[in-house]
Symmetry: C2
Subunit: 241 residues, 2 copies
């Protein structure tokens, strides 16, 4: 049976200063007193980013054993050897293309595909990586990702940092909703636009939205507003209906 998955839009809602302070309860439940293998490859300065997240998690959860996966001699081997009862994976945010390229190159993507029995947490780019593909990222393709396919720890796509259109804007660039509509011109998979502060939690055949609101996009349907606490388990059975 696949392990639980906890996917954040991002680490801080608007106005909040301390990362993850809005999500203490689900993080405590998900991480418990496990060793957290933090994957910082979406970022630029891997040590600094790992330290920042380790400090943030320890500040809101109390002392926690957070280790940078990038510091392991063979990160993929570390994943393959992980104890699912005592260790978990946390993939951080940054640039999704850079993350996909690095975990493809170093074998962590393949190892994570094998270890669906390991709990997975992600934020922003780390949430994109848990989806069938990284096609609903907001990031700039600053490196060739080496493929857009991802972990498929759930059968729906997440658009993190979901942003509502600004009714006063005169800018001609696509709104986020228009970009997701373009995605549905080419793909049938449902997209959850997770506003900042929201997260999805999957446990077995249950999928729940919490923390804040989201907007659900399905091909051929009008977009739908979702409130915190909404049960989305039906999407696991019919992700493209």
């Amino acid at each position: 049976m696949a392990a639980d998955v906890l996917l954040f839009s991002n680490s801080r809602p608007p106005g909040a200063e301390v990362p993850f302070a809005h999500a203490v309860a689900p993080l405590r439940e998900h991480l418990g007193d496990r060793t957290v293998w933090f994957a910082p490859w979406a970022g630029h300065d891997l040590d600094a980013y790992t330290g920042f997240v380790a400090d943030a998690l320890s500040e809101v959860l109390g002392p926690l054993d957070v280790r940078g996966l990038h510091r392991e001699p063979d990160p993929a081997a570390t994943i393959r050897a992980a104890d699912p009862a005592r260790e978990t994976v946390f993939v951080g945010g940054g640039n999704t293309f850079r993350l996909r390229r690095r975990v493809g190159d170093n074998g962590v993507l393949a190892a994570l595909r094998e270890r669906t029995d390991l709990r997975y947490a992600g934020a922003s780019a780390g949430s994109n990586l848990a989806c069938p593909t990284i096609m609903t990222t907001n990031d700039m393709p600053i490196v060739d990702p080496g493929g857009l396919d991802a972990l498929a720890r759930l059968p729906v796509q997440i658009n993190p940092h979901y942003l509502d259109p600004d009714p006063l804007s005169t800018h001609r660039g696509e709104t986020r909703e228009e970009r997701i509509h373009e995605f549905h011109e080419e793909n049938a998979v449902a997209v959850v636009g997770l506003r900042e502060g929201a997260w999805l939690f999957r446990s077995g055949e249950r999928l729940t939205l919490d923390g804040w609101t989201a907007r659900l996009f399905r091909r051929g349907h009008e977009p739908a507003e979702l409130t915190a606490g909404t049960d989305l388990s039906w999407l696991l059975a019919t992700p493209s209906s």
Copy 2:
């Protein structure tokens, strides 16, 4: 000698209703009375998009022979057979990943690489395609592009629809400037953030910004503001300095 290149941020400045009405002079000079092969593959409804652009160009320039390249039995062969004195290429906007995928698959990318003697015009995604890579697009990767390398009709990158940060925003997603900074964490090529209404024109060893302002990003330098009419020819010699 390589032919002239005219690259628009987009087809309409904020507030303007008629596409390309802000750019009559350079379009008249560049297109003249040539046959325009319009490449609509960044869009979704190719016939409708081609008709829209043909109407828009004819409205501002007078009657013009605009033909949809997608309607040719072998679009790549049409490019290879084009007469550089009487025909030109115009690549439209939409989704850059979709454009890159389709011109890669149908051979138009390869044909355009051979035919640097053909004048090239582009808007938005069509401008991204003229750069060394499509890495500075704003679009969502809705399809696997099959590669990020592009036409390199100039040695600098364009970020179209360049958008200044909103000082009132509480959104945690990256600003455009932060995204371009991430690009420079991985790449050395200069990036011209073309605000809506602006264009770049390359003729031989001259490169000029016109129409509106832009912001220039170079790795290791502070960003610089550029006014309409700025001569950027020095960037052709030192694109990553």
